[in-house]
Symmetry: C2
Subunit: 296 residues, 2 copies
């Protein structure tokens, strides 16, 4: 059956159409020269190509024929047969909304890539941590498959310079969330262009290259410490002093200053607009200063 | 670093050890004959073998050499090289707790199988529903990867008769949650015994066989209707009457009776101990009586 739209969906569509039209209005009323933006990237060049030709056809040719995209394919050891899928992996919805043409954003590819990544990480953790319970494997998986780690991999491949965004978005710094999206959508794109097993191979290759060049172990228990420093610290103080660490938060203007106290002694402090983030930060600061704790 | 145990973990372990010891006490004090239980299955036979020999070694031989397990392997078109992994796929933690031997439960395999299933379903949905947004794909995925659907597949393969449980658990009816666990752990076990790509092939084979024998389409939009009947009904009434369906709940002894009203007319009712479940049920009842709605 063809599902009908609920009121929420209708409202969402109305807002999106309105935003798109406003963007289109701005794009005809304003003169916009992407080359004037700092950090002029391939994405900006493509934006220029589209503006000049008033056609999206052009954007994908410019994109796929660039040296950077060729280098990326050589880096991930995979050559796309369907260049449209490759372009789509980097096409943000703001780009699609701005041009009312037959182009699609990366969201569906991201959906696919996300689950492929999940399967790959689960398998590697299963193999690497023989003695871990299911619960600990799940925790470590969360410490690996998250915005921080995936945007690190995304930056490692330089994917941030490829993200095709609309004019409004293009002026803003790329968020970690989008960096992470395009990493996942690239993996999804390989699966669509070829097969799930090729996507898994590409992923494996990327992780190996990352480990080699960064000299870091990707599937490392240390990630768990960094991801959840408060639990690590709590385990340390409980074991060594039989007490919990104390976090004291104070408002400092529009931010929070959080102090870490262990056994009546102030050990570290951190300032952040989010109290929760400041607590995590102060625990991490302390662990970083006392590296022997997380190695024990 | 070796993570130390938090107080919570220590408490959990203490409780588990206590429960295990209590079970072991009972197993020596009571006479227990699994063959006296109704629904005497392969799992019961294995239980008997363990009780008689006081050894878990025996259980896995009895298990793997059974005709039923051979039939299962032929049904899923995969023969396990490592029979221990196959046995583990069906070993519930209650069995492990009862015998203090070197056997492991299926939980780690389930962790792995769950994510392989996620990748497979995502890929199939991506291919089958070309015009679905990422949001709609995610919803349909939830309608497919859940306890109801997975326990259906589990029962289709007859996995319920293979679950090795401890004495206490063995007397109880198998829950949907465990049925679903062992389906996932079987897929995980194939990946461990062979490869991720073989696990994906086995999954594909199972779904095809299920579709052929049940004459149902597995990757069907209809699942979404059945999974979330309230949304489907709401879309129908909004489109046709411009109003929402009304649910009126009354307490009837220890249960809830929920009536469904559309445009001032009572259309159906359902009784359940959970109000939420009764609301879902009444919407589903109405949709089942008016099949043309979900086909439109």
């Amino acid at each position: 059956m063809a599902l009908t739209q609920s009121d929420d969906t209708k409202l969402e569509i109305r807002i999106l159409v309105q935003e798109r039209d406003e963007m289109a209005d701005r794009s005809t009323n304003e003169t916009f020269d992407a080359s004037q933006l700092k950090n002029h990237t391939l994405a900006h060049k493509v934006y220029d190509a589209v503006v000049k030709t008033q056609s999206c056809q052009k954007h994908y040719e410019t994109f796929c024929e660039s040296t950077q995209i060729k280098n990326l394919q050589s880096k991930i050891n995979y050559n796309f047969k369907d260049k449209l899928v490759l372009t789509r992996a980097f096409t943000h919805s703001s780009f699609v909304h701005e041009y009312n043409e037959e182009i699609k954003s990366y969201e569906r590819l991201e959906f696919l890539g996300d689950s492929i990544l999940g399967a790959y990480v689960s398998q590697e953790l299963f193999k690497s941590f023989d003695n871990f319970s299911e619960g600990k494997l799940s925790k470590l998986k969360s410490a690996l498959v998250n915005e921080d780690t995936l945007s690190e991999l995304s930056m490692f491949l330089g994917l941030d310079t490829f993200v095709l965004r609309g004019k409004g978005e293009l002026k803003e710094e790329l968020t970690n969330s989008i960096k992470c999206d395009v990493f996942e959508s690239l993996i999804g794109a390989v699966a669509v262009d070829s097969s799930l097993s090729d996507a898994l191979n590409v992923l494996e290759g990327i992780i190996k290259l990352y480990e080699k060049e960064s000299e870091k172990v990707f599937f490392s228990e240390q990630r768990l410490v960094m991801f959840d420093p408060k639990s690590t610290l709590q385990e340390y103080t409980m074991k060594n002093f039989g007490s919990l660490p104390k976090y004291e938060a104070m408002r400092v203007e529009d931010k929070f200053c959080v102090e870490l106290w262990i056994e009546g002694q102030k050990k570290a402090e951190a300032i952040n607009i989010s109290k929760k983030a400041a607590m995590k930060e102060v625990a991490l600061n302390f662990l970083n200063k006392n590296k022997e704790i997380s190695k024990n």
